[in-house]
């Protein structure tokens, strides 16, 4: 080969870049977030099946936000009770930011901008 | 010789919209005026080229040898192994089309197979078919069989490329059609299918040292005529030497400079300059050619012809070599000579004996371009000029393809022109420097039988000249290339008369004030200088 040094150096850089996922994870065992316990067909607040909530919660929350901010419809009735469409006073009343939201988001590298404004009382304890 | 169609007829025939039919389904049509005569066997035989025979490129039967296909494909395999450029350029083209409308032959003819990318695809389709796995699938993989018609198509279009490299400037991967054309022509030469107009000068140059076949005594007598004219115009008798051992510098220029107008006027410029400087230099009749038709024939032929320059510099014992104004000559000297025929250990790193400037950019090849040499003289105040002697000239400068894109000599000639002329105007930016357009006749295409093609190829250049002629009254196109000096006068004349063509050193010769000269009434062409017109008439 001619100019072999430069060519091989270039190839090594190329291989190092494209095989990055393999050597960076060498020997690792990946813990995926624990499977959720609720059944997919159970209903969530808003009369949405939990399976659908898992897939589309970001869109549903977005819709609720619009209803609150633009339509003033702050509450939602589910199973006879009233719930507030609110992250702090609603979602976080049952779910934990860290253990519930964060688990999957972190695993999948999802960066929702909810927390740019919203606040979790868990953070006080940190 | 003037071609039949009028400029406006040719111009109105240009159409940049290719046909809808796929190009592989479009068989080649040999248009009269677009292809050269075939090489004569005696010329090929003289330089030891294979498969020479009596044949006629306009006939159906080219009398190719029986195993021509094997020769072609073996040759191709050989070149792929020898030239990374070739293999790479066969593999990586994405057909983005950036080069398509950059070729002067496409701009002039509108023939879609003159788009550089398609000219390359003519050969690439063969490469795919015989040298890649996918190519076995045929047309769907962009591959096709090598047939006699395909070979003729390659021949037809590879002699419609002047190896000017303009496409390569615009290619995002630097794919250079000049390089691919060189490969194509190597293959063509394996089959004895060189053109007559190239093979003649090749044989001449091999034998006599120059393309024109001038024998030593003819060179000498040509010079004598030139020196007489020079004495008449300037009152100075210049006494150049030939084949003189012990000179400090060997001077090599294209033989056209001491053979035909307007090249001889450039040559007079060199002679006056060297005389003024008292330069210890010599001409050679053995290495009497700077140009090298091997560049567009085969790398071996290029080496064989080029070898004379170093060989002669060694025999004569000079210290370094100075080279005149020429385009493809300088591509060879700058990019090939040292590699092919070096190292030039018998020479010294060039130093100007007048200014003491070391030409570090030429310290290995040991050959300096005269524009570099003269620009250095002017910068150091060694030359006295009367630029008003060029006041009747509105000058523009044509960058030659090879010195532009295979070297990059842009400022030196401009600096010289601006020192010796008062009126200089550039052509539009998109047509000069690295974007410059070919004269349309380079790389061995200056043949009379393809005049129509050449006029069309020269259209972009001529049109840019027309622009500055109309805008600034330009009446002189200067250049640093012998092919330009030979082909541009009829080209310019065809598209828009009344613009002359000259070498840069002709302008230098006009303006240079030489001790002991008579009062100059004429320029080097024997035409009255500005302000001297009436004097001429009185006599």
């Amino acid at each position: 080969m001619y100019n072999g040094g430069k060519i091989i150096a270039g190839l090594i850089i190329f291989i190092a870049l494209v095989t990055f996922p393999f050597y960076t994870n060498m020997g690792k065992t990946i813990e995926k977030p624990a499977d959720p316990t609720a059944a997919a067909d159970e209903l969530h607040i808003g009369n949405v099946p939990i399976g659908q909530m898992r897939a589309e919660h970001m869109m549903i929350l977005d819709k609720w936000r619009d209803e609150v901010v633009r339509g003033g419809e702050r509450f939602i009735t589910f199973d006879g009770d009233q719930y507030e469409k609110s992250i702090q006073n609603g979602c976080l009343a049952c779910h934990s930011k860290q253990d519930f939201c964060g688990k999957c988001h972190n695993f999948a590298g999802v960066n929702p901008y909810c927390w740019n404004c919203h606040y979790s009382s868990e953070e006080d304890q940190l | 010789m003037a071609i039949k169609p009028k400029p406006n007829e040719l111009l109105s025939g240009i159409n940049y919209k290719p046909p809808l039919k796929q190009w592989m389904d479009e068989p080649v049509e040999f248009k009269k005026g677009y292809y050269c005569y075939g090489a004569k066997p005696k010329n090929l035989e003289y330089i030891g080229f294979p498969n020479g025979r009596e044949w006629n490129s306009s006939e159906q039967d080219w009398k190719l040898v029986d195993n021509w296909k094997e020769i072609f494909l073996e040759g191709m395999e050989n070149l792929l192994k020898k030239f990374r450029s070739f293999r790479l350029f066969m593999d990586i083209c994405v057909r983005c089309g950036a080069c398509a409308d950059k070729c002067h032959f496409f701009i002039g003819t509108g023939d879609p197979k003159n788009m550089p990318v398609l000219r390359a695809e003519l050969l690439r389709s063969i490469y795919r078919r015989y040298f890649t796995v996918a190519g076995k699938l045929g047309k769907i993989a962009g591959a096709r069989d090598l047939t006699e018609d395909v070979f003729k198509e390659i021949w037809y279009y590879y002699y419609q490329c002047t190896e000017c490299r303009r496409c390569s400037v615009f290619c995002p991967y630097g794919i250079d059609q000049a390089e691919i054309t060189m490969m194509g022509r190597e293959l063509i030469n394996l089959l004895g299918c060189c053109t007559d107009w190239i093979s003649g000068p090749l044989a001449n140059c091999y034998r006599t040292g120059n393309h024109l076949g001038l024998q030593p005594h003819t060179i000498k007598s040509n010079f004598d005529y030139m020196l007489d004219d020079l004495e008449e115009h300037t009152g100075v008798r210049v006494e150049p030497t030939f084949n003189r051992k012990g000179a400090e510098i060997l001077f090599v220029t294209p033989s056209a400079d001491f053979f035909a107008e307007p090249g001889v006027f450039t040559c007079m410029g060199y002679l006056l300059l060297f005389h003024y400087l008292g330069l210890d230099y010599t001409w050679s009749t053995y290495a009497s050619e700077g140009g090298n038709f091997g560049l567009f024939t085969s790398n071996e032929m290029m080496k064989r012809l080029n070898s004379k320059i170093y060989a002669e510099s060694k025999r004569l014992g000079v210290k370094w070599i100075l080279g005149g104004e020429c385009g493809h000559m300088w591509r060879v000297l700058h990019q090939y000579m040292d590699t092919m025929n070096g190292p030039a250990d018998h020479l010294e790193a060039p130093v100007s004996p007048i200014t003491g400037t070391r030409f570090d950019n030429a310290k290995s090849t040991r050959m300096v371009h005269i524009a570099e040499f003269t620009a250095d003289l002017i910068k150091n105040g060694k030359l006295k000029f009367d630029p008003s002697r060029n006041d009747n000239l509105n000058v523009t400068f044509h960058d030659s393809c090879n010195t532009s894109r295979g070297m990059g000599i842009f400022e030196e000639p401009r600096y010289i022109i601006n020192s010796v002329c008062n009126h200089f105007h550039e052509m539009p930016d998109n047509t000069i420097r690295e974007n410059t357009f070919c004269c349309g006749s380079g790389s061995g295409l200056n043949a009379g039988e393809i005049e129509e093609l050449r006029m069309l190829g020269g259209l972009p250049r001529a049109h840019a000249v027309k622009y500055v002629k109309e805008k600034h009254g330009v009446n002189m196109l200067s250049c640093i290339c012998a092919i330009d000096r030979a082909v541009l006068p009829p080209m310019i004349d065809y598209w828009m008369p009344d613009v002359g063509v000259c070498g840069v050193h002709e302008l230098v010769g006009n303006a240079l004030i030489i001790p002991g000269e008579k009062e100059r009434e004429n320029n080097l062409r024997g035409e009255p200088l500005p302000g001297m017109e009436e004097k001429g008439e009185e006599e």
Partner: protein, 328 residues
């Protein structure tokens, strides 16, 4: 014809993947084919580059696009006509990162007076947009191949989605990639010159990449897949502990299969310009051929016409003109 063929081929490939998912061939489409594709990609890429490397660069042939280095008082164009290694690095960086040569692009117009040349930067813009966004999209996908996801990958995602349009937030690169690829396709179809030179090998990768972009965008915004399961699968590939979670959804397998095809196709196609651009002798050589001798490893021995032969033929006429000769 080439265009229709390529379009049909890509649709056919997508259909294969969809059928594969329907038939629960997750092991084949989720593990075996992707591994094979990466293997072919890397091995094929290396093979091709080595093949190029085996041919020498016999001559020093840079295309010079600016003033040469000559006399010290003449300003050299150091990036367009470099004479040093540093200059070459600069020239190559401009070429690879900013598509310097395409930036020069001109368009020739026919007028009654003759040809004129106008600036034309669309191909440069479209090409650059295509390549840059493709690269960013490629890098963004590292979130499926790293655990924990590095902060810079998350940052890239946030920056890419900074317009905060829609949920999940729209990633600009994905949209631009699709738009740029579509532009490149449309110019092949509607620019008569480019149409004339286009081969199936030009349409096919474009359709393939458009298919990949469309399936990706669909998955993100419209036909949701379980992203946790997707990452389980991709991390299984990255750690060589493969798992095939069920219930991911056919659209994912279409996406993954088209990418696998792109990887496997890459080394045998024009896409190798990725490696080739670095090896182009008209760009990666310094214009210093008169300063430093370039060596041709196969510099041939050739038959020469020597001065002695020349003088033997012309001695008499040389003498008659008083030209010096070696032998009287």
């Amino acid at each position: 014809m080439g265009m229709i063929f390529s379009l049909v081929a890509v649709i056919f490939l997508a259909a294969i993947a969809f059928m594969g998912a329907k038939l629960n061939l997750f092991g084949l489409f989720g593990v075996a084919i992707p591994y094979l594709a990466v293997l072919v990609f890397i091995a094929g890429f290396i093979r091709k580059v080595i093949k190029w490397g085996q041919s020498p660069v016999p001559f020093h042939i840079p295309t010079t696009c600016g003033q040469q280095k000559s006399l010290p008082w003449i300003k050299q164009s150091k990036l367009d006509n470099p004479s040093t290694t540093l200059g070459i690095i600069g020239r190559m960086a401009l070429e690879v990162l900013l598509f310097r040569s395409l930036f020069r692009n001109l368009k020739t117009h026919r007028t009654d007076g003759g040809p004129v040349y106008g600036s034309n930067k669309w191909l440069w813009l479209g090409g650059l947009a295509f390549h840059v966004t493709f690269f960013v999209v490629f890098i963004r996908h590292l979130r499926f191949f790293t655990e924990p996801v590095p902060a810079w990958v998350n940052t890239l995602d946030v920056v890419d989605g900074f317009v905060q349009v829609g949920v999940p937030h729209m990633l600009i690169t994905g949209v631009v990639l699709l738009a740029a690829a579509t532009y490149l396709l449309l110019r092949r179809i509607f620019n008569p010159q480019v149409k004339y030179i286009s081969l199936p090998a030009d349409y096919f990768p474009l359709f393939l990449i458009i298919g990949i972009a469309v399936s990706g965008i669909l998955m993100r915004y419209f036909i949701k897949v379980d992203i946790i399961k997707v990452k389980e699968l991709t991390m299984g590939l990255a750690t060589f502990k493969t798992t095939v979670p069920d219930g991911i959804g056919g659209i994912f397998f279409i996406h993954l299969f088209l990418i696998s095809v792109l990887f496997a196709y890459f080394p045998f196609s024009k896409l190798m310009h990725l490696g080739g651009v670095f090896m182009s002798p008209t760009r990666n050589l310094a214009n210093n051929s008169r300063e430093v001798r370039h060596i041709n490893p196969w510099n041939p021995k050739v038959k020469l016409h020597t001065y002695e032969e020349y003088e033997d033929e012309f001695r008499e006429v040389m003498k008659s003109e008083g030209l010096p000769v070696e032998k009287e």
